[in-house]
Subunit: 599 residues, 2 copies
Amino acid sequence: MDLFSKVSRTAGKHSLLEEEIRKLPVPVSSVFLGKDGKIRPADFRQTDMTLVCKGHDRISQVFPKTIAKGGSIVLEAVASEKAATVSGKRVAVLFSGGPAAGGHNVLAGLAAVLGKQNTLMGIRRGPGGLVKGDLFEIDAQSVNSLINLGGFDFLGTDRTKIKTAEQFEKVKKTVLDNKIDGLVIVGGDDSNTNAAFIAEYLAKENIDCSVIGIPKTIDGDMAAGRYLPISFGFDTATKIYSEMVGNLTQDAASAVKYYHLVKLMGRTASKITLEVALQTKPAITLISEEIAEKNMSLGQVVDYIARIITLRRLKGINHGVILVPEGLVEFIPEMARLIAELNKVLSEYEKDISDLPSVENKREFLLPHLTAPSAQLLASLPPDLQEMLILDRDDHGNVKVSQIETEKLLIEKIRYRLSEMKRHTENFFGKGEGKIEADPVQIEDFKKVVLSTQSHFMGYEGRSSKPTRFDAAFTFQLGLAAGSLVLSAKTGYMAAITDFHKGGRVLALPLTGLVTAEMRKGKEEFVIEKSLVDLSSPSFKLFVQNRDKWANEDCFSSPGAIQYWGPTSKQVPLIVALDQDYPDFACFDLGEDKQIAPQ
Amino acid sequence: MDLFSKVSRTAGKHSLLEEEIRKLPVPVSSVFLGKDGKIRPADFRQTDMTLVCKGHDRISQVFPKTIAKGGSIVLEAVASEKAATVSGKRVAVLFSGGPAAGGHNVLAGLAAVLGKQNTLMGIRRGPGGLVKGDLFEIDAQSVNSLINLGGFDFLGTDRTKIKTAEQFEKVKKTVLDNKIDGLVIVGGDDSNTNAAFIAEYLAKENIDCSVIGIPKTIDGDMAAGRYLPISFGFDTATKIYSEMVGNLTQDAASAVKYYHLVKLMGRTASKITLEVALQTKPAITLISEEIAEKNMSLGQVVDYIARIITLRRLKGINHGVILVPEGLVEFIPEMARLIAELNKVLSEYEKDISDLPSVENKREFLLPHLTAPSAQLLASLPPDLQEMLILDRDDHGNVKVSQIETEKLLIEKIRYRLSEMKRHTENFFGKGEGKIEADPVQIEDFKKVVLSTQSHFMGYEGRSSKPTRFDAAFTFQLGLAAGSLVLSAKTGYMAAITDFHKGGRVLALPLTGLVTAEMRKGKEEFVIEKSLVDLSSPSFKLFVQNRDKWANEDCFSSPGAIQYWGPTSKQVPLIVALDQDYPDFACFDLGEDKQIAPQ
């Protein structure tokens, strides 16, 4: 073949890496292996572990059927002793929400454990496809062409919320029309809450269809401590962001003139930011959960950053990297209050405000309706941001918090703070509390600082990458587990894996044990609480122990590109290894490496 | 060691990958190997190849000393037959301009070939450090700790241009004070032009100091066809961008709702964009050189994109990736003319314009001074961009072209075009030239299109990565070559490597043969012309052959993360393999793998 053909033929997922990666063996936990060494469904037995969340009494009322079946008891997979395996079952799977690396290995795991004697169906474009009944049969060849590859593109995804009676009716119709015995929902906290409701609904309707959730989200917030240290996709996403941030730390020190400000995806939990910080050791890292806990104001956050920039400058360092979690603004208590007040006023006086011709008029109208601290804060924000907060609202009339350009806000505020420090050096330098010690020469030098910044947002590029070896193995086990649960006719569970460092322990967590009942704005809400950064966790403690050192001098390290071969390919996330007390982070063990051959 | 210590100790470039990558062997071309298998300097002999550029007569007048030494003849390295090696030489090296992956392996190559019997000095912070005389001796241990790592941070870099008599005097002082026998300048076109002048100046001053250039730039525009297919850093940068763009192609198809618009670094040449397109096969790719050649207007560029988005929509595809080279705007002829006119008017009427109070007043003043087509074009641009073009000027009073947010401009224009198409479907759909064939149902569906875009800029994250195996090998050879040239007392050459697929051929290109003399705005300028995308090259042809297919359906492939081990680790850039007519792109050969041990 000539080179023209060779290059042209890499199209359609046939890059050299894609070709080679399909051949990589995937580990299989011993519970899924028969005595012949072939994959077969595991059985599940009860453990002595139970999950009970806030509002459990109310949960028992809302999910009576599911609770009746298994209660709050965690199940554990064991190798099956049965002679025969189940056959003739039809299992449908869907992806929900944003993509995460490893989704296709969930399909591969499902296909492998269901075997030829059962049928795997794919639901197109997420929960919306389930409602519409948009299904197709997945053939073995497709699965084999997708193994170890990234993205959700084989099925697609969406964010449809299944809430109305009409939607549930349609789900029922899809299940009955397609004779589905099992429904596997791959998603985050919302989707797994949905799964709990669908499981209960189908049970109530006396339809024999297992509903099983699989924990997905790059944010890592769909987790349950020692039962489920992390969701799938987190490892791959954070390794990609760490590669890029590591490159930027090295670039900052090379070009010796820039501060790179990097906003990292993750609206709620700062787990991504914490993991990337542990991997790369940048000069400055903000963790939303800590800022909320310490009740820091925007001004205090800005001061913290400006102070580190100044201290570095005094040492002759005029560059660095600053990591900021995407959801920061909502975790600064005074900003959260301002946004809540704005939402209230904007909806109460919707008509009055929309009638006013200019932003200035609207602001004039708004300010007296805010509390004094919120009015002051709003007035102190950059004009662009004020305008955005006043004018841009989502379909529910709320401020579009996700659109706030946190990086621009911080940069503008930091610049202002530095200029203030230059104009009034006497207030910032010298002896005394909070002041920075510096000699006159250093202060004169500081006055010359020009802050050059580059801002970055990292998110989408980490969602659909080829999974790391860890995520590839993790998701394959999750698929094997979910398939086994369906074949055991369990319903209302989430497949989970733990003990990544010693063979993997395969669990099934009762969804009703994860869902909490809460009153929010007078309405009862059922939610799986997002797992945030725990400020008492070993991973956060390690970060706190080291951050001053990382701020004071360049300590960066650059973990580099994800490796699929070689000595670095078997890492787990640092926060998992630290918080689960593993002896190492560099060598996961999820079973026996198997070449997943075409069936 | 407990896990806390293990994680803490990854700080300061001790990530698992950094530790492992230092141990990776680097190939050494046979010309640098003695009979004992150890590294030793090569000799250089004349070839029958000569380099002659535009304005050669004038070049001969300006560079008489350099020309007298070697003329325009290309030299080739051969294994030395000499018994003894040179000793006691002092060689200084600097990095110039933006970082590129592999710089530290240049140092390692230099250190290896100079050996203990000579001294390697590092110049801090680029040409500025050369002028200031900021040098230090590089010890073997530092070099060994940096091998195969990324960035320029060991030396730093800057962009000082050495032009004035005073600066040349200072360079002379630095050379004499530090008894430097050789000066190695690692840089792009400007820096290598500088190297030519410094070589000539030192020769004229009768100072025995070799000056050798090394071709660096992620843009790949410091190249010389079959003598030097590419500069170092290009392979690593494009592989990182291809990883990210590949992930986005997969993400677009997974989330099924976004167009990701990606602006790729490279102010002049679109080589980065072409390489990334060949690697990932996105829906739409713009190549600046083609747009200039076809004299396309901004409107035509926008039409081209909007048409593909529409055709995809008619097939039910509402997502994709659009690649745009950073320098696009300057290559759209009408935009280039507008900018040139603006620069002229803004400088001619500087005072008048700055006296006017508002942007509106300034625009009012400007418009009559522009040609009609430029005035019309300016008025058609988004208000933000108009304001930026009128208000923001650099130190020379010119429009800050690099600050133009091309991605925002395009997105706004595409949106407008699509809304026009929706409002006047009769003008765009139907039979006839340029019209799109579609049935009424399709047209109604098209009217519902909401264009959701995410824009990205990829640049800095690709400059300081750990080099690919190719760039690591390439730069090590360049260091060996430059060191050998200095020890052979050659001056005014650029080290070059070619034939990456069969052992590597090591050349020395006379800098005076690369520099062209030109009259620009009445001033004589000496420049190394940037090597742009050649529209008749095989790589561009392959792109043109395939792009309609890539536009019509999802053909993306995702080359994935750079691999340092395993079957995909030995790739060369596709444009190099295609344009140099290699039989394959997947297996470079630059010599015998050597463990570069501490000296």
